[in-house]
Amino acid sequence: MSEKNDTESNDTQWPLWEVFTQPKDGKPHEHAGSLHAPDAEMALENARDVYSRRNEATSIWVVPSDQITASSPEDSGPFFDPANDKPYRHPQFYSVPRAAKRRS
């Protein structure tokens, strides 16, 4: 590369992948971060080297970043509000006889 010249436009650094790791057997997979890789297999290997150098994962998922659909923060109010007026979905909504309470 000549000085002051940017890298060629087709030098893309590869597509972006999101990495999810399962910290322990039985735990859910959690988002760990992202990385670049040419395909899924190499994305998995890179994910192991980048996000699990100290046994932080027992299992890894990689997903192409552009395949993830996320809820949008602007609409989060109306999007989540169907749950707001349903307190009867929680056990705290109910009162039970004292005697039964003590036993549990």
């Binding site: 030098d11 590869w14 971060g33 992202s34 990385l35 980048v50």
Partner: protein, 314 residues
Amino acid sequence: MNEEAKQEKFQKRIDNGEKIEPKDWMPDRYRKQLTRMMSQHAHSEIVGMLPEGNWITRAPSLRRKMILLSKVQDEAGHGLYLYSATETLGTSRQKVIDDLLNERAKYSSIFNYPTLSWADVAVIGWLVDGAAIINQTMLARSSYGPYSRAMVRICKEESFHKKQGYEMVATMADGTPEQQDMIQDAVNRWWWPTLMMFGPHDADSPNSAELIKWGVKSKTNDELRQSFVDRHVQEAHTVGLELPDPDLKFNEETGHWEFGEIDWDEFWNVVKGNGPMNRERVNARREAHENGKWVREAAEEYARKKRLSKEKAS
């Protein structure tokens, strides 16, 4: 909602201690400042591999060699966490790397000093990583979610870096007279540049107030520098090393170590690109990028061929 109302709502979220996530609305300047800060941080991790990498082949034992290899690999990992976090702000990886290779972006000036002896590897782990921990522990509470999460991950690994360094410092300080001279010489050369890592005095740091208002930082440069000095003076004295500052003295009243004035001419000179190793570091990065090009292309082509043969088979 107009711009002003959005700004106000944003500031309220910050003041409430909420984390800002990539798709949330944020002021352009918040995005810009974070992109600058996080990419600089990523570049520092990557360039930071060079001074220590210089000694891998000459490590004094297999144990030390494995440790150093592992540490340098961690720095590459830290760079990747931070490049990924920077990308969530909407700047491509390619652009961020181009900025480093074409010197539009900076990295920590500490890496523009040379590593002249093996003792420098010990002192870098102890002082430079020690300073990084103090800075990064604060940044782990940063208001930007992806930055904060990357920092939490980094901090966990950084304590190994400091500890292996201090172990080596202690070993050499307790060694032969030659080893003692070597480690003292390294401390003399690295002490002041390490203090400069925290940046200019608060009064001369134009970005500080804004970054604190936005919850990106929670302490000023001078506060961070003071906690570094307090901790490391103690550690130096514990292993019988002197620090090259005649003004260093303990203030009983404040409970802090007072220290002399930093040579700010040297600081700005290195920031502006005239440090002993600035040219060499950027050239090494350019070469690595250029020499790695065929690997990136080959991997892409391999992936393409594999995809094709899979399509054919199905």
